[in-house]
Point group: C2
Chain length 494, copies 2
């Protein structure tokens, strides 16, 4: 908790003071939003220091399951806040990386803003990276490192924004809380119990989720929901062990072909999911939300060029429209070996991992159950553990389906709420016209915040879309860090 009037604290000052502190040249280019203008001023003078501090943070390996290192990250993130006079504590439940909590009390404030981010990163294979994932480097205006974008960037941007606001002594009108999670990429398995345990501490009028990328046009976007998710591993079975393909091929069922047929049965030519009732129950968009989607820039052509695509799925629908539908994606597929490693066998098993992204109105249990019902409809006997010889001989087709723990539902905050309108106005005064989306494509466990804390969530992303998050060579476009500092300064001060 930051004490008003403490050393270097946020003293009560007015807009005029801020403007006076800026040079005439800066004022001419400044945004209408004084906090954003102050952030630009500060950043321009401290770029090297900001980058140096950020690279130190990125150099700490941050897989949620790597206990010693994840705690080092928590300590570093706490330190980053405390350096700015924010009082912090670690919120703990057994078996989980700590949540780094920080707070600033603002005298006279009538609302509380909670800024959420996460400091853990996606699992990775270092062999796939051009440079080591935890040895951050700058190349071509980008920082390359695991979590450079997802999701340490907002943590650094909030720190720099606090510096900027302090430097020009801007008044905060809201109480501020920071909630930095340490196992989001592991599916936030303990977040619900942390929210329950620290319910009062974590309450607020709105949770501002600092995660995900800005729009592909590089324009700021504000997002009012996130899709839910469920993930399934599907294994189908051929012969007990690999067989010579000459002696047994086209007599012994080939599990790779079985899996191909099963997966192919799940979508039509245009990419529409053909699983029964897959789209049933979708909560329709409001008038405001429909308008926002229609107004979102069409970047599909540019993206296709960037990604070397000659076509897209979705029957001609734009990407921004498709995000308001549930999706079914194959994450990976494996059976025996391919290419130079292949041998002339009928494989013994074939496995696919799929994810289903969910929108409001379809819960994750229902979605997983629909997939399993579809697999049964294709003639499979479905089991959830390794099938024995008797089971495999008793059924023409056997599939093992494991629903990964950690699935969750979608969340969506109405764009018509007063707090939604305030966030939009503030963001536009800082960053110009913003793209407004009812839902982001990715999944963050926003539903918990609604369910446990009854607080609306609004996502305020800052990183570039082309950041390779969740893959190798993750990176942050440094310009996005600069823009993000301005946006977050404005939101801190709103």
């Amino acid at each position: 908790m930051l004490q008003a009037g403490g050393a270097g604290a946020f003293a009560c000052q007015r807009l005029t003071c801020v403007l006076a502190a800026l040079s005439v040249a800066t004022i001419a280019n400044a945004q209408q939003n004084p906090a954003a203008a102050a952030a630009r001023q500060w950043r321009t003078a401290h770029e090297s220091a900001i980058l140096a501090e950020f690279m130190d943070l990125l150099a700490i390996p941050n897989l949620a399951r790597d206990v010693p290192n994840i705690r080092k990250n928590a300590a570093a993130v706490s330190g980053l806040l405390e350096k700015r006079g924010v009082k912090t504590r670690l919120l703990e439940v057994p078996g989980a990386p700590p949540v780094v909590f920080g707070s600033i009390d603002s005298p006279g404030a009538t609302r509380t803003l909670v800024f959420y981010a996460h400091y853990d990163g996606q699992p990775l294979d270092p062999k796939e990276w051009a440079t080591p994932p935890w040895e951050p480097v700058v190349r071509d205006g980008r920082i390359y490192a695991r979590s450079a974008s997802d999701d340490k960037a907002p943590i650094m941007a909030l720190g720099a924004a606090l510096d900027a606001l302090k430097a020009v002594r801007i008044t905060l009108h809201s109480n501020i809380k920071f909630v930095f999670e340490g196992e989001e990429e592991a599916g936030s398995p303990h977040l619900a119990s942390i929210l329950e345990k620290y319910k009062d501490l974590l309450s607020g009028d709105v949770w501002l989720i600092c995660d995900g990328p800005v729009h592909q046009s590089r324009r700021q976007q504000i997002v009012f929901g996130a899709r839910g998710i469920t993930e399934l591993d599907i294994t189908v079975y051929g012969p007990k062990h690999e067989l010579h393909s000459g002696h047994y091929g086209n007599w012994a069922p080939n599990p790779a072909m079985m899996l191909a047929r099963l997966l192919a049965s799940m979508k039509d030519d245009e990419g529409r999911v053909t699983i029964d009732r897959f789209y049933d129950g979708i909560e329709p968009l409001s008038e405001t939300e429909r308008r926002a989607v229609a107004e979102a820039p069409d970047v599909d052509r540019d993206l296709m060029r960037e990604l070397w695509l000659g076509s897209t799925e979705g029957g001609g629908k734009k990407l921004v429209e498709l995000l308001n539908l549930p999706s079914l994606n194959i994450r990976g597929m494996s059976s025996a070996r391919t290419g130079a490693q292949a041998s002339n066998v009928v494989p013994a098993t074939a496995t696919a991992t799929i994810d289903i992204r969910l929108v409001k109105g379809i819960d994750h249990d229902t979605a997983a159950a629909r997939v399993i019902a579809h697999i049964r409809k294709q003639g499979y006997y479905v089991v959830d553990s390794e099938p024995d010889a008797e089971t495999r001989m008793a059924h023409a087709k056997v599939a093992r389906v494991v629903i990964e723990p950690g699935g969750y539902d979608a969340a969506r905050t109405s764009m018509d709420l007063p707090i939604s309108q305030l966030v939009l106005r503030t963001a536009e005064s800082a960053r110009g016209p913003v793209v407004k989306l009812p839902t982001m494509g990715g999944s963050v466990p926003l539903y918990m915040i609604d369910a446990i804390l009854h607080a609306p969530t609004i996502t305020v992303p800052i990183v570039n879309h082309d950041n390779n998050q969740h893959s190798f060579d993750e990176n942050l476009r440094i310009e996005n860090l600069w823009d993000g500092i301005e946006l977050l300064a404005a939101l801190l001060a709103m």
Copy 2:
């Protein structure tokens, strides 16, 4: 070349001598064939020595590409023949493991029998093996080692058969040649040029191919052809690099789903290949061949139990019938990662390796061209090297199809030829009623022998069908080695 009358050589003796050499008890159980009876007599008295010699041969790593070790194998195989008085030489062409050649001239012989086998083994991953592949061990009546079955077993069995025939001084009625290849599992890339170069040396009235397994009923089988083969790697392309499945899933085409749909389009529910003209041109079976297939024992139920299968492909056709049709098999399939290694991405590519087994009447180039035409018919632009950005953007679907070198055609010798009938009579006199197959399921490059040497080929397998050849834990059932010595002794003496 073995000299008649030399030390321990095959002196002219008659059936009566052989019978006199056998005890009364042995005679009661002996086969009608005196050479087979002599082989059993010899083997019973020398089991340990035969196994010890075989295990030494199996202990030499035998991948065709492992030049120093493959030459050690060639030397060991030559030594095995020379120890039996067979004159040997190494047949060489640049870049190839040598063919070990051996010959026995039999005075007065009016025919020449060529015994073919190969001493190299399938590539492997030692991590998959219960015990190291080149440290042979005996467990439960089987020898476990790479090439225990495929294809060092016939080499050892021929050696032991020669010992047995010499011991009872049986007359050989035929000139004998041995041709032991060193790169069959690499697709015999130099065999054609070796056959051309040593055309006269390698001529014969019949090539007896000692490769492949006996019937699944464990009855001896004699096979009059082998299927041809062609192998293709198919890679389909999604986005330039992996993408976040939430932000881009179901907009960016998923190559794993594309590949699943493509593979699924190649077969119907019953496993019949749906590629246009896939079955066109098949040379029909003769009356004798059809009768042989009809008479072959039906082991499908037993095999299903052994392999834990609840169903088979082929629309109700027996395995033995299906071997007379071309087949399409997926050897392996891969795209990004599955299970615990999976991450929430749209993969960038997906690859399948497939093999096509061919029967007489369809050549391997035609078969590969039909697959490629099918891929085009599914809307793919087909390339044979890595497609660049322009190519990928210019086409909705791009597939890279690489036809692996080393494909070849099927071969089939008529069962009605006098030499075919002689082999069948001899085998039945040694081993009782045999299963007669027009074609084996696997592929060996028999077509070359017909094309270059104009010699018919007949396959005389000795190893067990459940030998895990081409996979890990390859093994030979020792009983099959004993039976094989008897069969090969009879054929050597016919």
